[in-house]
């Protein structure tokens, strides 16, 4: 019998449909979750940076702490919300890709919010008087600061993408690892390894590593070229 590495390379080289389906679903789920996380997190983080209200400090600390939220706990929370007896049980979302998107978005959101807040806060300290002088109030400053912080923001969001795509606990709990429906790279690796079918597990592991590697390469390349192009 061939070793798992040979089988893995064979699967990758032949573009095995079971493999590509899993990769496609994983990427779709994580991309959607990251998009939702950015759509909510970017304005919220920027607002948190510029707004002044009581308990602002507590909220900042809370989001910083939530960055370390264990994925299984996030999964459990979403499970409780979506399970048949939960408050959102009627939507019948448990064990669907949508449930996995929700769980991952919850993991990514605090990362995007905290990152955005810190980037925008630093820029605001530098830009504040200048923007006011040029006629921009607080609200109008938000898109300006997000745009001028774009390099740091994109780099951080790529890191968030990496964390979400490598995560297994949350998607396993709320997705259920159903073949062809909610099976992602990480849940498949868990299952295939426990079954002793190492070929597919190794193939997925290699792909996952490649994704992480290319995300980091993209982040690095972006930062490098931005330094040259934007100053």
């Amino acid at each position: 019998m061939d070793g798992p590495f040979l089988i893995a390379l064979g699967l990758i080289a032949s573009g095995d449909p079971a493999l590509t389906d899993i990769i496609a679903l994983s990427l779709k789920v994580t991309l959607t979750a990251v998009s939702i996380g950015c759509l909510i997190g970017l304005p919220l983080g920027a607002g948190l940076a510029l707004a002044q209200f009581p308990c602002r400090g507590a909220i900042v600390v809370a989001f910083n702490a939530l960055m370390g939220l264990p994925p299984v706990v996030a999964g459990l929370l979403v499970y409780l919300m979506l399970s048949r007896s939960g408050p959102l049980g009627d939507l019948a979302l448990l064990f669907t890709p949508t449930a996995m998107v929700i769980a991952q978005a919850i993991l990514i959101l605090p990362i995007v919010i905290s990152l955005t807040r810190s980037v925008v806060e630093d820029l605001w300290a530098e830009y504040r008087e200048q923007l006011r002088s040029l006629g921009a109030g607080r609200l109008r400053a938000v898109p300006t600061l997000l745009w001028d912080g774009r390099v740091s923001l994109v780099t951080g969001i790529l890191a968030g993408f990496g964390r979400a795509s490598a995560e297994v606990g949350a998607v396993l709990i709320v997705g259920g690892n159903i073949a062809g429906h909610t099976r992602t790279m990480t849940t498949a690796i868990t299952l295939e390894t426990s079954r002793g079918s190492l070929g597919l597990a190794v193939a997925l592991g290699i792909i996952l590593l490649l994704i992480t590697l290319s995300l980091n390469a993209a982040a690095w390349g972006l930062a490098q070229s931005a330094r040259g192009r934007l100053g």
């Binding site: 002088s133 006629g135 001028d148």
Partner: protein, 245 residues
């Protein structure tokens, strides 16, 4: 050659009147009892030792900070008229191209795209920035960034320009270029209020002088009079180079 005249303002926002203006942070009085009238068409240089309050005074006039006592009022009664601009002591250029930096305040002011493009193009040409238009502003040299900051303020068609140490960190040739521009602005009818700690620059540019010392305005009048016959011992020390702080 036809001179490109500044659009005649509907109404002059000048004179600007400061009455008994004070500015405190906590218990510290940083500016105290300042009475000053900024008249249209002059070049006023605010002088004084380091920490005298020159930057604070300009930021108060421009409306970046509010006085803690007294009043700052424009002719139009507008709390912060649009027809005034400022170049900060350390201007911030945005992390975008030179062109986008010029476009930004015009977009904020509500000009339509086509009008903005035309104004930006005119400003680029006027300030010799056409070759730099697509370059990231942050990568320009200090002198070029300062020129961009001046261009950005000028593009807003101000009646009065506040310039805080406009050539403080620049080499002599860049300083010369900035001073030439200030002279041209003035010739176009823009009122100039600037600070400088450089006596020679003040002599070259000032029509009027306001002399600040420890947050108080202790002399104000025509430049020639200030330089030839300063009224206060502090101003005499300052002109003699003895008073730096």
């Amino acid at each position: 050659m036809k001179v490109d005249k500044v659009i005649a303002p509907a109404q002059s926002i000048l004179p600007l009147q400061l009455r008994a203006v004070g500015y405190s942070v906590g218990k510290t009085r940083l500016l105290d009892g300042i009475d000053l009238t900024v008249r249209a068409g002059k070049r006023l240089v605010v002088m004084g030792p380091n920490g005298a309050g020159k930057s604070l005074l300009l930021r108060l006039c421009h409306g970046l900070i509010a006085p803690t006592s007294g009043s700052v009022s424009w002719q139009t009664q507008d709390p912060r008229p649009a027809a005034q601009a400022m170049v900060l002591q350390r201007p911030v250029v945005l992390r975008r191209s030179v062109r986008a930096n010029l476009d930004y305040p015009l977009a904020l002011a509500g000009y339509a795209r086509a009008a903005r493009d035309e104004m930006v193009q005119k400003t680029l040409a006027r300030f010799g920035l056409i070759a730099l238009a697509e370059r990231p502003a942050r990568l320009l040299s200090g002198g070029e960034q300062q020129r961009l900051a001046l261009a950005r303020a000028w593009a807003l068609r101000p009646q009065v320009l506040f310039l805080d140490e406009p050539s403080a960190a620049l080499d002599p040739s860049a300083t010369r270029a900035i001073e030439d521009l200030i002279g041209q602005f003035s010739a176009e009818g823009i009122t100039i209020v600037m600070t400088s700690h450089d006596l020679f620059q003040a002599r070259r540019l000032a029509q009027d002088i306001a002399f600040l010392h420890r947050g108080r305005l202790i002399e104000h009048g025509p430049a020639a009079q200030f330089f030839d016959a300063p009224q206060t011992p502090q101003a005499r020390d300052f002109l003699g180079g003895a008073l730096i702080w």
